[in-house]
Subunit: 191 residues, 2 copies
């Protein structure tokens, strides 16, 4: 199971049941005794990941600076999906794919992220029209870079460019810099 996770991370949903079983050192029958169907197996894996995700968001909430908190969820979430192709897909399609029984995990995540965005908006450190839906949309985009352009493009650049578009104009930074956004959560206004 936890061994299957590695395969799932590498190949995504196209990992085959035989491979997963072999990789875990068990027979196919055994896999099916634990999970009635392939989808159930994938769902279980995705649910665990979503839980980690919610934890990241809740942790970020404890950061005082509103902008730093938001940047931390975004960066943290991105880092969390890096290298897990299966979860990347789940993340991108998380809207339509009604993964049975993930509602709870997802709700916790959504709530935490929502609060963080609200705080940043109130503080005026991000573009005032930024919404929760935007968050999902941008995460989807960054994740797509990881998934579709694994070698040829650097998702961290994508992330920093997007963050530049999210911050309120006066806060924009990371311009003309190293481009990888190595800057920490410092928040002194630019200019």
């Amino acid at each position: 199971m936890s061994s299957g996770r590695e395969l799932f991370a590498r190949l995504g949903p196209q990992a085959q049941m035989d491979e997963i079983a072999a990789h875990a050192g068990v027979g196919i029958g055994t896999v099916y005794r634990h999970f009635p169907t392939k989808e159930a197996l994938l769902t279980a894996m995705v649910r665990d990941r979503f839980r980690e995700f919610a934890e990241i968001a809740e942790l970020a909430e404890s950061i005082d600076d509103p902008l730093a908190a938001l940047e931390t969820v975004i960066r943290g979430s991105a880092e969390a999906v890096e290298g897990d192709a299966g979860f990347q897909l789940a993340m991108m399609g998380s809207d339509e794919l009604e993964w049975e029984g993930i509602e709870q995990e997802k709700a916790a995540l959504d709530a935490a992220v929502g609060r963080i965005i609200g705080r940043a908006a109130d503080a005026g450190v991000i573009r005032p029209d930024f919404t929760f839906a935007d968050f999902g949309m941008l995460m989807c985009g960054i994740t797509s870079t990881m998934y579709f352009k694994p070698g040829s493009a650097d998702w961290r650049r994508h992330l920093e460019i997007v963050l530049d578009g999210v911050r309120a104009p006066e806060r924009a930074r990371d311009r003309a810099g190293d481009g990888t956004g190595a800057s920490g959560p410092g928040v002194e206004a630019r200019r």
Copy 2:
């Protein structure tokens, strides 16, 4: 063929050969007489689209203002893929998927876009570290919003947020505005 395009646009590569044939009002055999394999059929469709794409880019080159030119390719490209799920996928994965015999079309596109980016960079109207690879990356992201969040998110917002991150800081605009970036190619500096 052109009828199959409609199905391909709606369903992407998962459109089935029988459906495509039926939709075109012919037998499967006939489809296979025109295209030796499913992949060949998809490739032919994608190639046509790529050609349109290159035209968009070449047209954008004729715009004098360097920033407006860049924005036009990006917006134009995005609009061109809207509603074509098949091409959206091709666009996102265009790096690894070595679609046989698209090299030429793709090269023309790449060249035009490269020139536009170079011009914008020289003029100092975009973040100085912006590269051609970034373009592909960001387009991939915007396209992923169309593909994965068809109803729930507005890719035009994604586009505008990203553009805000691409422009040089002094040029940033579209903040606190309507958010849909209805602004035309006007380029007067903000503040």
